[in-house]
């Protein structure tokens, strides 16, 4: 479950002075600051939470350098209960090129403020958002949408899903008429 945030989203940009030149000599080199002002994000997770996150992070490290590739960041966040859009993640990463997405790596300390930022996002999708979003396609106003319609929407709007993703998502969800009760569907989705 996503940890509740107590953060006050006050931009500390005016305060400036990023801690680049730390007085105490640190054994690890700090990650280079990306264009997105990630340094303004204060990490507020408890040590217990960070331990959980570190464990998940480690699972994604296939190379063994205690880092993960940029293109794994979204999945780690999802694994940890968040639902960032791909656009959100790219922004946090400083809008990297596809090449950078595949090859640039970030360590756990660099990941934490990224994750904190997503956790702090006030625009997170709620159950209500999803239901209302799907209600738009409920032509008969009876609480159902046609599976075929939903497939088209998911594949052509927003951050298009692939056919394989859509198949995986909708497996077993349509009734014998090919309809989906979208409120039940969304509740099912949100429960994991």
């Amino acid at each position: 479950m996503a940890p509740k945030k107590d953060a006050k989203p006050a931009p500390a940009k005016a305060a400036a002075a990023p801690a680049k030149a730390a007085p105490a000599p640190e054994p690890e080199a700090p990650p280079p600051p990306p264009p997105f002002d990630i340094t303004s994000v204060k990490v507020e997770f408890t040590p217990d939470q960070q331990e959980d996150y570190r464990e998940a992070f480690g699972l994604f490290d296939k190379v063994g350098d205690s880092k993960v590739a940029y293109n794994q960041i979204a999945d780690i966040m999802r694994a940890l209960g968040q639902n960032p859009t791909n656009k959100d993640v790219r922004k946090i990463l400083g809008n990297p090129t596809d090449d950078e997405m595949a090859n640039k790596r970030v360590d756990f300390e660099g990941f934490l403020p990224m994750f904190q930022h997503i956790v702090n996002d006030p625009n997170k999708g709620t159950l209500d958002d999803y239901v209302e979003g799907l209600r738009v396609f409920d032509k008969e106003g009876n609480g159902t949408v046609m599976g075929a319609e939903l497939r088209i929407v998911l594949g052509t709007l927003g951050e298009k899903m692939t056919e394989a993703e859509i198949d995986a998502l909708m497996a077993g969800q349509e009734d014998e008429n090919g309809s989906i009760n979208y409120e039940a569907f969304v509740k099912h989705i949100m429960s994991v």
Partner: protein, 80 residues
Amino acid sequence: MDCHIEACNQPQEEEDIMDIPLDDPEANKAAAKIQAGFRGHMTRKKIKPADQPEGDEEEEGEEVSSSGEALNGSRGDTGQ
């Protein structure tokens, strides 16, 4: 009314279904939010079995008998 849906592999028989608001920023924003939620769900579902390093990949069938073997006591194994 022609509904030419781009980048879609769906059969043409479904062209009557709806006017998909391809250019509507609000619709796209709503869709992106839903898709984000779906992707989150699918990722979590996918990694769930990977969490358990057991050889049996049975998500629901928790066979009591397999763990019951130890409880039944070893037969003829030890000569005590």
